[in-house]
Symmetry: C2
Subunit: 328 residues, 2 copies
Amino acid sequence: MHVLVLGAAGMVGRKLVERLAGAPGLLGREIARLTLADAFEPTLPRVFESAGKTLTIDLAAPGSAEMLIAERPDLIIHLAAIVSGEAEADFDKGYAVNLDGSRALFEAIRREGLREAYCPRLLFASSIAVFGAPFPERIGGEFFTTPLTSYGTQKAITELLLADYTRRGIFDGVGIRLPTICIRPGMPNKAASGFFSNILREPLSGKEAVLPVSETVRHWFASPRSAVGFFLHAATMDTSLIGPRRNLTMPGLSALVGEEIEALRRVAGDKAVALIRREADPVIERIVAGWPTNFDASRAEQLGFSAEKTFDEIIRIHIEDELGGSIQ
Amino acid sequence: MHVLVLGAAGMVGRKLVERLAGAPGLLGREIARLTLADAFEPTLPRVFESAGKTLTIDLAAPGSAEMLIAERPDLIIHLAAIVSGEAEADFDKGYAVNLDGSRALFEAIRREGLREAYCPRLLFASSIAVFGAPFPERIGGEFFTTPLTSYGTQKAITELLLADYTRRGIFDGVGIRLPTICIRPGMPNKAASGFFSNILREPLSGKEAVLPVSETVRHWFASPRSAVGFFLHAATMDTSLIGPRRNLTMPGLSALVGEEIEALRRVAGDKAVALIRREADPVIERIVAGWPTNFDASRAEQLGFSAEKTFDEIIRIHIEDELGGSIQ
C-alpha cells in the first residue's frame, strides 16, 4: 500500500506519521511506500527510511498535484492548508492553497483515472469553521454551512467537491470535520483559540498562562490523539456505509472553560490552576462568542468515530503523549 | 445606472429584459446603459436601442469576465449556466462555466475594485438543486446543501463564494434559489422536469401531453413572472436586512401533480384535461422521487419576496403572458 500524506509537517500530520511508524500494521495492510509532502520539510521516521520519501512542495504550484498523483498512491490524507488567520489576511493565498490546491489534487486524480483505472481513498481535513453563527445550542447533523471566514468558505467548497468527485467514482472521499484540537503541543501561539490549550499545557509544565475569556465560555474539543484516530478509522472503514453525504462532523467534547480548569485541578492540583492568570481580552471574547459550542455527531459515532468524554481524559493524553507520562 | 445581464438569452433572462423594457423605471433609477451577454446572441428590446448592447461571449473564456466588468456595471444579474443534464454529462464544461465562469466574474469585480473603489450589486440565479435527498417533508431554512448532481454542486459552491465576497465588501451579492419554473414557455423538452409544464402548456394550446409520473408526486413551483419578480426585488431591496447569509430559498408553491390537473380543469375544462396522456416512465419516476417537495421560505418572504399561492394563478399568468390573455 502506498500512502501519501499532504501537510505532513503540520501538527496532526506529524502525529499521524509517528503513529504509523509505531504500529505499521495500523492501516490493515503493510505500508510499502510512504510519501510525506508539505510546504515545510517533513520528517520521515527511521522505520520508513527505505520505503518513504519526503517532498517539500507548494500544492498550489502548477504540476505539484500531478507529480504526487503520478505515483498512484492508494491512500491520500490531505491535511495541507493555509490556516484561518492567514487565509483571512491573504485572500489570494488562502484561495490558492485551500481551494485551488485541493481542486488541483482532485483533478490530478481524475486525469490519472482517465488514463488508467484509479480510485484511491482520499481523506480531507475539514473544520467546524464551515459553520457560521448564529447557531442553535447544539448543531444538528443537517445544519447548513454558512461560514464567516474565507478559510471556512474554502473548506466548505472543498467538502462539496469531495462529495461530487466521490459520487462520480473519481475517488473514495471522506471529509473529516475536526473539532478544536486540545491540548495543542508546542509553544503558545497567537491564534484566537490558543488559550483553550495554553491554560492547560503551560500550567502542566509549571508555567503561567493567560485566560482572556470567562469560565462560562463553551466550546467543542478533541485531543490530538483523537484527531489522528479519526483519520486512521476513515482510512480503514467500510465507506459504503457512509452514503453520498461524505463530510462528517467528528465527535468531540462540549465543555466550559471552567470544566477545563476543574479537570486541571483534579489532575495537577491547585498549584497548577494558580498559574492561570485572568486577563479579559474583549477582542478575543467577541471572536469566541461567534464560535460553535456543541454538535450532534451521532452520524460519525454510528460510523465508528470516537473522541474523549471528559477533559480529565484530554489532559491525561497530553501527559502521556507529550510529557513522558508524568508531571513535575 | 448600468445594468449587465449575463445569460440574457435564456428563458428568465429574456423575460427579465422584456419586463425592464416595458417599465424602465422598475429598478428605481433610469437604466442609462444595458448590456446583455450570453453564449447565444441575446435580443435587445427596441426601447434600449441607443442605451444598450449585446455581447455573444463564453463566460469561461479567458478575458470575458474582465471585459464585462471593465465597464463597471452597477447591477449584475448573473443567470448564465450550463443546465443540469449537460453539466452532468460533460464534467469539464459544467465546472468550467458554472464554477470557473462565476468565479472569474467575481474575481474580475475584485480586481476592478482594487484598481478603483467599486462594489456593484450582484444577483446570482441559484437552484433548489443545491439540496440532495433524503429530505424532510418540508425543507427548513437552515437545511444543509448536499447536492446529488455536479450542477447542484457548482451552484452550492458559487453560493459560498458569493457569501464570502459579499462579506469582504467586494460586491453586494444575493443568491436567488429558484423553484422549478412552471409553466415554462416554448416547446416540450427532454428535461426530466419538463412534464410539470408540458401537461399544462400543451393542453392549453389544444395539444396532447404525456404525464410520466403519478398524480401524487409533489414538487415546488413558481411562475416565470415570479422568477423575474425575485430578481427585480433583489435589485432594489435594502440588502443590509439580509445579513451574512446571502443565499435565499425563494418562495414557491408546493403542489401535487393532481392539483396541477385540477387547476387546469377549473381554468380550461375537462376537454383540456383529456389531452393529458398517462404513460408511466420508471426512469423519470425514480429521478423525480429524489427531488424536494416543499420548503420553508419564510426568510425570503419576510424580506419581501413572493410567489403564487395556487396553480390557478400560475396557469392564468401563462395565459396572460404567453397566450395573449385567452385560450381557444
